[in-house]
Symmetry: C2
Subunit: 101 residues, 2 copies
């Protein structure tokens, strides 16, 4: 069942764009790990927040990705840009009006 991680990442002042550029660097590993969509974005009303929406083949695939050494290293690399504000939600997809399932 497709699994969605919709998250917000608070950044330190002036660090938003650096985090965006890291998160949007080409990374084919994610698809190998079961990520089917990963959208990174901003909202000018919240200048020190980066937004992500990720779709994964399953919750298990998402969880397993977080235990991969290269993914853990990327997260650790980005941590100095973050101010500790984390938000968002996660859910299992049950259908879509675009598919009618």
């Amino acid at each position: 069942m497709t699994y969605v991680n919709a998250g917000t990442l608070g950044t330190l002042p002036g660090k938003r764009d650096e985090l965006v550029s890291r998160l949007t660097q080409r990374n084919d590993r994610l698809r190998e790990l079961g990520c089917t969509a990963y959208e990174v974005g901003v909202n000018e009303d919240e200048p020190e927040t980066v937004f992500v929406v990720e779709l994964w083949e399953s919750a298990a695939a998402h969880q397993a990705s977080l235990r991969q050494p290269d993914v853990m290293a990327a997260i650790a690399d980005a941590r100095p840009l973050l101010d500790g504000r984390f938000g968002g939600f996660r859910f299992e997809v049950v259908g879509s009006p675009l598919r009618g399932d």
Copy 2:
């Protein structure tokens, strides 16, 4: 620029699945209006919440869709199922590690 609406809808006790079934009914109008993805889901940790992630061709397309009579009617029809808790966030997509843009 792709626009994301990631939202949570609080439902009255026992009404979650009815809202899910309405939101997942096939609706080709949404694609005509510029919706490129619309995922509906649940999280067993929050049994009275429905989660949605929508991708739109632009913020303007999303805004315009909310002024369409049939979309407004569908929202009005669903309102009796809701308990007034609304959450989530919206953002403009700036890139993806799956595309490297």
